[in-house]
Every structure is written in C-alpha cells, then in structure tokens.
C-alpha cells in the first residue's frame, strides 16, 4: 500500500493546486492541472534524465524561508522568487510553494528552440516512416517549433537508415533523437542492459551490446516508447499507416498474466480482402500489464491467419481417410456418438479455451451424463487454495514496494510469466523484498534478498520448513479466529531450524504485504497441489490474506487455466477424462505433448478434436472441428490474478470456423432439443453469471467498465506515455476470494513433509521456455531464430560422468519415450537433474519429473 501521501500547494501558471509532495512536476502538471508539458526523453515509468530539454519551464519558490509559509502579496497572489535560468520540469519534484510558469515567452521560445535543434538532424522521412501519424516528434512539432527551418537541408547528417537490432527491431540512426528511453527501458524496467550509447556528440548512437542482438523478451516495448520512428518492428514494417488502422481490444493468448493488447487491424488485399491483424500493441491496464507486453505477445499473433490453419470440419471414415464435411454432418455424427455414449464422455480443454467455451463444453458433457472435465497441460492444480487465499481484489504490483515481500516458489518467472517477472523486478526496485524458493538459479536471483535453494521435487519441504521457521520465530502469535485447523499445523511438526530459514521467516512476518507466486517446476501434479496448500497455509498463518497485494498467485501454464478451474475443470480429472470412451479435446494436443497422455487416450473409441492445426491428437481423432483463434471471436479469459477480462472480434474468419461455445451449444441442442442454442458469447456469459456464484459480476457490461488510468498514453498523449493504446475494452473484474468475505473462516490443512528419498540416477525435469515450438507460436516465422533448438541442460558433474560435452547430440530415454536433443552443460543446473524444455522437441517429453537415461 502506498504510504499516506502528504499534499502540498503549488502554483502552475498562477493557479494553485494541491498535489502530492515529491511527485514529478511533469506528471503533476498533467494529472492535476491538465497542463501538457512537452517531453521527449521523460517517461512516467522511468527515472528522469533531463536530456532532451523539451520540458523547460520557469520555476520559482514562494515560500518564506523563516516561516515556511507561502508569501502572498496584496492581491492574494503568491510572491514568487523566480530562478534566473529555465529548469527542466522532468527532473523537478514538487515542493511546498513551488511556482511554475509554462506559458511565458521565455518558455515558449526555449521549447521552439529545442524543437528546432532536434529537427536539424532529423530526416524528413515522415511519409514513409512507420511512426508517421502517431509520432510524438511530429505532434510536438505541430504544437511548438517555428514552422520554418533555418538549418540548410543539404547539410543534414547522413547515417545508417536500416540497422537491424536483432531480427525483430530495426533502428534508423538518422531518426534517433538520443532520448535514451530505449536504453533506460532495458536497464531500469527490464534489467537487461542490452542497449547502450556509443560515441559522443552528434555521433552518439544506440548500439546493442548483447549477442544475439537486443536479447530481451521485451524488445518490442521500446518501439512504443520511442518518441520518433527510430525503433520500429520488423513485424509492422510498412504494414499500414497508423491512421488507417482499426484498434480492437484483445488479450494475450499465451500467458497467465492476461496482458491486455490492442490489435491493429486493416483490410488486406493479399489476404483476400479480409480484415487482418497488422500489429499488436499493448493496451493500458495498470492492474495487469501497465503498458508493457512481451515479444511473444507482440509477435506471436501470426497463428491467427497461418496458412496451415484447419478451416473445415472433417470426419474420419471407416478406412481411416479424412473427409471434409459440412458442419451439419460433422455435428450430427458427433451427436449420434454422444447419445450412445452412456455417460462415458470426457473432455479436456487447452490453455487458450475461453470461459464461454468451457461453460458450454461442461453443459454438453453433463448433458450426456459424463463428468470428467480435464485441463491441458495437466501440470498444476490448487483451485481450492486459490479460492481461499488468492491475491486480494485490487491487487496491483505497481503498489508493491517497501514493506512487501514477494515469494516466488518453483518457478522461472521470466520464462513462464514475463510480465510478472517485469513487475516483480520493478516492485523490488521500489523496495519490495524478493524471496525465492527455487531449485536452480534463474534471472530473478540477482534481485533476490533471500534464496532458499532446495532440490527439485522437494519444494513442499522448503515451504513447510519456512512455516516451521515462522511458527518458531519470536513473537509469532496466531489468532484462532482467522482460521480453523491450526492444530493440524502444530501437529505436523515442521522443521523450524533450517539454516537461513529464520531470516526468511522474518521477511514474511515482518512484511506488511506478502504475495506468493507458485509455479510447478520439478513437481508432480500431486506435489504441486501440496505446495499450493502449504503456501496457502503460510499466508493464512501470517495473516497475509484477504487484502490487496496479499495472497497467492499461481503461475498457471495457460492464459485461461484459472477460468477452467473456476468452471469445474481440473488437472486431476484429465487422466480420467482422456480414458473415457468418447473424448472431446478442445484446443489442446495431449498426444503430441505428453507420452503419458497417449497411453490414456488409446482406450478411447471416439476422439473429437477441436483444433486450429493438425496435431498428433487430430491424427487419431474421428472428427476434427476447426477452432477459431482469439482474434476471430468474442470471449473472456481469467488470468492468474483471477481477473476476468474480455477480448473482442478483431479479424475476418479464416475458413468455415465456429467458436467452440457455439459448437458445444449446437451439439447440446442436437442431443436434447430442449436445450436452447446460445446466440452470442455474451449470452453464454449471462448464463455463467447466473450459475457460477463467483462469476455473478462478470457480465460483459461490467467487464468492459473503464476508469481513468495514469499515465496517459496514446492519442494526444503519446508524447508522454508512448504509443501504447489507451484502454477502451475494459479493465476486467476480479472475483473475491473466501479470505475477503467478512466472517468467513478459513481452513488450514497441514500437509506433511515428504521424506526425502535418496536420489538415484538422473531425473528429467520439464521446464517452460517462453519461446517454444507450440503450433500457435511457431506460426510466427520471424520468431524462429529466437526459439531455442531442442536441448537438455545438464550439470557439469553429470556431464562429466556421462562423458557429454556442450553441443553433443544426446538421446533422452524415459519409459518408452525417446527424444534426441543437444546437450547444454552449465554450472547453474543442479546435479542429478536434466532440465528438459517442453514444447521444443518433435517427440513429446514428460510434463512431470520422471527418471531419465541419457544416451550418447
């Protein structure tokens, strides 16, 4: 929670305003006085540098030194002592009695001069520049500047026009105005110092310092905050002029963060005259992703119109051949099978399946008498823990700073949820403490105040021991009224004296706010459930529940895993669901991503696959129905913070596809004509609001609700917050957890620590990489160079034992599965473990830890 803010009086152009003390003058003038002080280098999300000199203002002080009060003259106006020189507003923080003049000739002239100086070197590329039309320099030149150039044209400096900073971002050295927003973004916001300045004076230029160039997951954001067209994306290069684009609010289909995006669409001749996505821009949601998105989100949209998209329903004939059929025939075929299934129907929903789809799928399965509703990937669980102590509503990483402890458990946050990585890192920069309970070093290590390292698979004991340390710490008291079941915790007799854990316990008990992010690296599904419960126990015991910025955030594997759990699906049911005689697989490829799933589904007689692409699952399906991608339809996702958010139809349909909810609704209708066919996603959501108490407030109207956000971005304010889009699609709504309900008693369910088995042989630990070879993401050609080739990571000792060196081709054998990968040997991998990234290999690798043999 932000500290109590002290307000002070300042005068902007003679008017008095009450503003928070110590705030930045540019921000204050904009927010309170609606006074746009022009800036190029200043950005409200980064520290000021005062480089561009555009924000010069006259500054003065009206405070009497003796009395510390504002001096007023006879007219009631403040008596101001003005500084002789102009000052940069961006490097000024407001103090009591400060006076500012932004409209005097002195200030206007200075601004005009700075614009003139900047334009001396800036080329007149505007007609072909991708930024032209949404360019802060263009806008501010229209507003300020002389309108005539005194700098002779032929004298302009000619520099490189087309420098690729990696294959995603292009740099135009001539257009660069050396504002350092991009370098500061990399240094301060992300913590990847991959861009820097080279040379000096007029030759000062941006260079990338990393190999591969511009090696960060957030490079695209620099193009949004670049105040000129110096940094542009390869994706949108000459794609359209900004004013020709239509903006449609949407959501990141990949990660659990639920990043808000805006799809810029336009008709496209080459695509047959349909509306297509020209680019993806961040959409401001200060609760979720602020104005940042990862490169996966930004450049991973090409699957929505990939050429290999399935476009028509297909039915497998007796002889095994696939035949393209009409929707009617396909649906009738399925309906006949479902009618005869006698309740042995299971459904598995993938990570990008919307709440509406899930609801209708559940209705369909229940209509046939089935009950097995699984999710894919089935790696994480803990719906109950989330329902009890998920983060409080109104949680915002932006409010976390001093007094907050962020605990990351069994997760490589940068790879699994880059936006949370970014926001965690920034919270830490603001003074929050970061504690890691991880089995191997990750990028977060350098920001951590405390690292409780443990073996893969022993996360539960680490969390339990932390609880033990909390219980035995000085002055720990537990209010019995908070929750029942304290005796079970006491009985569990957790170790409280592990080295380093007492310090960690202090970081939890001494913190005002505690947020725990739980991943699943190195954990089986059952272990993960225990860790979630234990993490919930920790939060309940220390009282860090039921209020904003406190509670549990699971690092789910998919964009809508939380929604699936909310609507009655679960990972525990997945194995059962796959073993039914009729299996509906929506938006997932269990067969292609897990050897174990293959075994389960082998018993199914009839597999119905809803998929965007040909996969190993569609290869065994009897009926294949084409799915729609997120941009083609309306719907909602629920993110890891339980925020239900809408996405809207953005692009023209590819082929003859239907949204999943419609398919399921029509099937229900075919089976039982009494069931009405739903006509829109909104109608499905209306049904959900009536039947699912937690979603009672989630009507589309509520989800589209907006509030004023700060900083202002886009439109007239793009000079300030960048080209990211203002939010017109809604901020979404979080559902409250039990801990927030007044009078509701929580339950502590102690989980017994596991005996640590002697470690024998090697264990393959699946890890998530942000860039993988999932059919959706690999449809983006431009990202291929960034996707790592299939590899497995070994510790030095193990590699020595196996006589494997970096770069060797090795075969991993687990059970009856086998994959061929390149060996990576490094010091960060723990001994006895082979880290195997999922979704990188052609053959599936296990989704849970498993014994493995390495063959050369």
């Amino acid at each position: 929670m932000p500290d109590k803010v002290e307000f002070v009086t300042i005068f902007i152009d003679g008017e008095a305003y009450q503003v928070p003390k110590g705030a930045n003058l540019v921000d204050v003038a904009k927010f309170y006085a609606d006074n746009d002080i022009p800036v190029f280098c200043y950005h409200p999300k980064m520290s000021p540098v005062g480089m561009c000199r555009m924000c010069l203002v006259e500054l003065g002080n009206s405070v009497d030194r003796q009395t510390n009060d504002i001096k007023y003259n006879a007219d009631g106006k403040p008596e101001v002592m003005w500084f002789p020189k102009l000052q940069t507003a961006c490097t000024t923080t407001v103090t009591h009695g400060m006076a500012v003049r932004t409209d005097t000739p002195k200030v206007t002239d200075a601004r005009d001069d700075v614009i003139e100086f900047i334009l001396t070197s800036h080329p007149l590329d505007c007609p072909i520049c991708d930024k032209g039309g949404e360019c802060p320099l263009q806008n501010l030149t229209m507003r300020h500047g002389a309108g005539v150039s005194r700098f002779d044209f032929d004298n302009k400096l000619h520099l490189d026009k087309h420098v690729p900073l990696g294959e995603l971002i292009y740099l135009d050295r001539e257009r660069c105005i050396q504002c350092a927003r991009c370098t500061r973004f990399c240094d301060e916001v992300v913590g990847d110092p991959v861009l820097g300045f080279h040379e000096r004076g007029r030759s000062l230029q941006i260079v990338t310092l990393s190999d591969p160039p511009f090696d960060t997951y957030f490079s695209g954001n620099t193009t949004d905050i670049c105040p000129v067209g110096a940094l542009t994306t390869a994706d949108f290069r000459f794609g359209a002029r900004p004013w020709e684009l239509n903006e449609v609010p949407s959501l990141d289909p990949y990660g659990p963060e639920g990043a808000n995006i805006s799809l810029s669409t336009r008709l496209d001749r080459d695509s047959g005259g349909v509306t297509i996505i020209k680019r993806v821009m961040p959409r401001q949601n200060e609760y979720v992703n602020e104005i940042w998105i990862s490169d996966k989100t930004r450049f991973g949209h090409h699957h929505s119109r990939a050429e290999n998209r399935l476009s028509k329903p297909m039915v497998r004939r007796e002889d095994g051949t696939l035949e393209t059929v009409s929707w009617n025939e396909a649906l009738n075929t399925i309906a006949e099978v479902l009618k005869k299934s006698a309740g042995s129907v299971g459904a598995v929903a993938g990570p990008m399946v919307s709440n509406e789809d899930l609801w209708e799928l559940r209705q369909l399965v229940e209509l046939t008498g089935g009950s097995k509703l699984g999710i894919w990937p089935a790696t994480m669980t803990g719906a109950e823990a989330v329902a009890q102590v998920g983060v409080g509503t109104g949680t915002n990483f932006k409010d976390m700073g001093k007094g907050t402890t962020i605990v990351v458990v069994a997760s490589d946050l940068e790879e699994e949820a880059p936006i949370w990585f970014l926001r965690t890192k920034q919270a830490r920069d603001r003074g929050a403490k970061l504690m890691l309970l991880t089995a191997r070093p990750t990028k977060l290590d350098k920001y951590a105040a405390c690292i409780l390292r443990h073996h893969h698979g022993e996360t539960l004991n680490a969390v339990n021991n932390l609880i033990g340390a909390v219980l035995s710490s000085d002055g720990f008291t537990f209010e019995e009224s908070r929750a029942e079941g304290f005796d079970t915790v006491k009985k569990a007799k957790y170790k409280g004296d592990e080295a380093g854990y007492d310090e960690a316990a202090k970081m939890i008990t001494g913190a005002e706010n505690v947020v725990v992010l739980v991943g699943h690296e190195g954990l089986t599904l059952a272990q993960h459930g225990d860790v979630m419960q234990s993490a919930a126990n920790l939060l309940i015991l220390t009282g860090h529940v039921g209020k904003p910025n406190n509670g549990l955030i699971p690092v789910w594997p998919g964009a809508n895993t939380q929604g699936a759990l909310d609507l009655g699906f679960s990972a525990e049911a997945t194995a059962d669901a796959l073993s039914q005689s009729v299996v509906i697989v929506a938006g997932a490829d269990p067969v292609g991503t897990d050897p174990a799933a293959k075994a389960f589904i082998a018993s199914a007689d009839f597999v119905i696959a809803l998929s965007m692409f040909d996969t190993a699952t569609t290869a065994i399906a009897k009926v294949i129905l084409p799915r729609q991608s997120v941009p083609e339809r309306d719907g909602t996702f629920t993110n890891g913070e339980r925020r239900v958010q809408r996405f809207y139809t953005a692009q023209g349909l590819i082929g003859d596809t239907r949204p999943d909810w419609k398919v399921f609704s029509q099937l229900s209708n075919l089976i039982d004509p009494a069931v009405k066919v739903r006509l829109s996603a909104a109608a499905v959501m209306a049904e959900i609001t009536k039947n699912v108490p937690r979603y009672a407030e989630m009507s589309y109207k509520n989800l589209a609700r907006m509030e004023k956000q700060f900083p202002d971005v886009g439109g007239d304010d793009l000079y300030y917050g960048g080209t990211a889009y203002g939010n017109h699609g809604g901020l979404g709504v979080q559902w409250p957890v039990d801990a927030e309900a007044a009078g509701k008693k929580l339950t502590l369910k102690a989980v017994k620590s596991e005996k640590t088995a002697k470690r024998k042989g090697l264990v393959a630990v699946p890890v998530r990489r942000l860039y993988d070879r999932s059919p959706e993401f690999s449809a983006s050609q431009m990202m291929h160079q960034r996707i790592p080739s299939a590899y497995a990571q070994l510790s030095r000792k193990d590699a020595e034992k196996l006589k494997v060196v970096e770069g060797d081709d090795i075969t991993l054998v687990f059970g009856d599965g086998k994959v061929r990968v390149t060996a990576k040997v490094d010091g960060s991998t723990p001994e006895g473990v082979v880290l195997v990234p999922v979704n990188l290999t052609d053959n599936p690798v296990p989704t849970a830890p498993m014994a493995v043999e390495v063959e050369k």
Binding site: I118, R150, R200
Partner: protein
C-alpha cells in the same frame, strides 16, 4: 614573492618521497591528522578562502562542509582530467611534485573521513599515472596512505584511474560516471556529488581540482591567515596562470591573484615580435574572448574582476592572441573542438555544436551571407543556459564573444574579403 604551489620547483628530485619529506613534505597531513579534528581542518580551509581552481571558483571549505558527517561511505575524487585547451598546470604539479597533490588529497580525505581517494587522470596522462602509482606505494610504505594512517585508526586508500580521452569527463558528474564505468555524460543535479545519491557510486563525494588540493598542505601548515594575506580579499591565494599564445615565454606562472593581464604578459616575456595584443582568452576555449584593450589589460586577475569584463577566470589558462590573429579562424577552431567534445546528452549542445560548426565553416569558406552571422549568434544564444552541464554555454561563448567584439572580421569573410593578415589556417 612567495610561491605556494610551485615552491619546490627548483628542488631536484622533489618527486622522490624522501626528498619531499626532507623539504617539509607531509607536514600538512601530519598536522591535520594528529593535531586537528576533521571539522577543524574544514574550518581552516574555509577560513583561508581557498576557491576551487578547476574553473568555477567555489569555496573549497564550503564544498567539504556539505558532505554529511555521519554517512559511512564517502569518497574524494581528484579531478586530474586536465582537458581545457591551453591548460597545463595540473600536469606540471603532478609531474614535478606528485606528493604535494597526494598529500592535499589525503588531507581532504581526512577532512570528510573518506573511504578512498580516486585520482582521475585524462587518458593521455598514462605516464603520470604510473608515477603517481609509485608515489602512492611509497607513501603507503611510510603509513601516509592506506591502513591506519600515521598510526591513527583512520584508513583511506588512494587510487589512480585513467580516463578514455573525453573533454566532458572534466565535468565533475561526467567524471564520476566515467569513473564508475558508465558512459561519460554529466548527471542531472540535484542530487549534487556531495549529497547521498549524487557522488561516486551514488555516495557523497568531494570532487576537487589538482591545483586546489595542492594548496591545502601549505594552508594547513601555515594557517588560514597566512594564506588570506596573499591575493585579494575575495580571491585569496596564488594561482598558476598557464600563459600560451603569442607571447615570448609561454608557460606556467604562479602569481597571487590580483595581478593584471598586462603584468602577466610581461612576466611571460611580453608579446611575441613586439606585436599588439588583439584578444585574450582568459579561460581556454570555454570562456568568452575579450579584446586586448587597455581596460582589459589593466583588469586584475581575480574571479570577480574578470567577471566584470564579461568573461571568466576559469582555470586561468590565458591564451594571448596578437594583432595578426584571424578571429573567425580562432572561433572556427573552437567550434570544431566543442563539436568534437560535446557528449551528446542534451539536445541543444549536441545539435547546436554541430550546427555552429557547419555554419562557421561555411562562413570561413566564404559561402555565407550576412544573415548567417545573425544565425550563428542566435543559435549560440539558444544553446546558453538550457543544458545540463556548462559545456553548452562554453561552446556558445567563443562564437558569441567573437561575433560581439570582432563582427567586422565576420563581415569581411562574408564579403569574401578576408583580412590581409590571415594566419595560416588549416581546418
């Protein structure tokens, strides 16, 4: 007349520690550490009225007193990035009497209880850096630097650091950035180097010029009153004047502040070939040019009096130009220098220095109109007072002052009637 800074100039081998010690060396440090508290040392320096010799002329004692008393980590940085055209005083001080500088720095370190002293030298001073390193080692052996200095519980390390060759790194915050391994660009102030968050590694830091610190041992030994007797009331003490240009004997001359330009030129052997003085740059390339009128020549060289004739004393690198000097050519040279040395951080300086150079070089080639002279003056004026550090002002100074005082020469270029007495000018 008494010398302070160059008093040991004639003692051979003064750079050797034993010779230095025999000639009263490190007496100042001993007196400061063993007889005074830190606050007393600061008070003595404050009382002496010593002003920073790097250019700004800020009271040294005041600067030291801004450092927070009880803050645990503090530094002293010696600015030996002597890059101003026409300045060569620090070099002589460090070459001939390095221990004097080290002693001064250590006294400053004692005054603020610094953890370490960093001597930041310009890249070309690599040989001096080597010598200094040896001197520091010798001093360390005698317990004058390092752990438990002079047997007290005060410890302070001393290091040298070579810059990479940038004029801007003489600016104190750019110097700190460079010392930290960052790009040599000035920082926005506040916070100032003396404040938490503003200094080296963002800890409170005193940044002093070599010459400033070389004064300190003498002040400690002889007391503030003795120092105040030298020079003028507001500008006490002596100053090394680096005289160069069209004089017979260019070089370093130490005089009490308050002698006139005329006296200085006489001391330097008078004007070369008996010519008349046309213009003076009192502070290298960065200060405004003044014409060599009688009024100017009779101006006492103190911080205030020089300011009264619309220029600055700065580091007192006095460049004398005789009547044959082509002032447009001189301005061109200086514009080129600043174009080359602007760090590029602020827009007006980055673009302005480049623009000025383009216009003045066009003008010098004879491709300009009278309007361009106005443009030149206007661009230079627009650069002033709006940049982070003073380089933007410095770069505008030579242009503005030459246009002001020698406009006729510019106009002559425009009319393609170059003055008959053009100095051989190669761009």
């Amino acid at each position: 007349m008494e010398h302070i800074l160059l008093r040991s100039r004639d003692i051979s081998d003064i750079r050797k520690l034993d010779v230095y010690l025999r000639n009263g060396g490190y007496e100042g440090l001993k007196k400061a550490v063993l007889e005074h508290t830190s606050d007393q040392v600061i008070q003595i320096v404050k009382d002496s009225g010593l002003r920073g010799r790097g250019g700004a002329g800020f009271s040294t004692g005041m600067k030291w007193s801004f450092i927070p008393r009880d803050y645990p980590v503090k530094y002293v940085v010696v600015n030996a990035d002597e890059s101003e055209p026409g300045t060569f005083k620090d070099r002589e001080l460090m070459e001939f009497n390095p221990h004097q500088v080290i002693e001064g720095a250590m006294i400053a370190a004692y005054a603020i209880k610094a953890r370490a002293v960093y001597i930041y030298l310009r890249g070309e001073f690599w040989d001096i850096a080597g010598d200094l390193d040896q001197c520091i080692e010798q001093a360390r052996e005698k317990g004058l630097v390092g752990q438990n200095i002079l047997g007290t519980d005060w410890s302070c390390e001393c290091y040298t650091h070579l810059g990479a060759g940038a004029y801007i790194c003489g600016e104190e915050t750019a110097l700190l950035n460079s010392l930290q391994g960052l790009i040599g660009q000035p920082r926005v102030r506040p916070p100032f180097p003396a404040q938490v968050g503003g200094g080296l590694y963002y800890e409170p830091t005193v940044v002093n010029n070599v010459e400033t610190l070389a004064n300190v041992p003498w002040i400690i030994v002889n007391g503030a009153e003795a120092y105040k007797k030298i020079g003028t009331e507001k500008s006490p003490g002596t100053k090394i004047f680096c005289v160069s240009g069209h004089v017979n004997n260019p070089g370093n001359y130490e005089f009490p502040l308050g002698i006139t330009f005329r006296q200085l030129i006489e001391a330097a052997g008078g004007m070369r070939d008996g010519k008349k003085c046309k213009a003076i740059l009192p502070s290298g390339a960065s200060g405004p040019v003044v014409p060599g009128t009688d009024k100017v020549l009779d101006t006492p060289l103190t911080y205030e009096d020089v300011a009264a004739i619309d220029t600055v004393l700065g580091s007192a690198s006095v460049i004398i130009m005789d009547e044959d000097t082509d002032m447009v050519w001189a301005a061109l040279k200086m514009a080129r220098f600043f174009k080359h040395e602007s760090c590029g951080k602020c827009t007006p300086c980055r673009e302005g220095t480049y623009w000025l150079y383009r216009v003045i070089s066009d003008l010098y080639k004879g491709n300009a109109t009278l309007k361009d002279i106005e443009l030149l003056a206007d661009v230079a004026a627009n650069m002033q007072g709006v940049t982070i550090c003073a380089l933007g002002d410095f770069a505008a100074n030579p242009i503005l002052s030459t246009v002001k005082h020698f406009r006729a020469e510019y106009e002559a270029y425009v009319k393609a009637q170059k003055p008959a007495t053009v100095a051989s000018a190669a761009d």
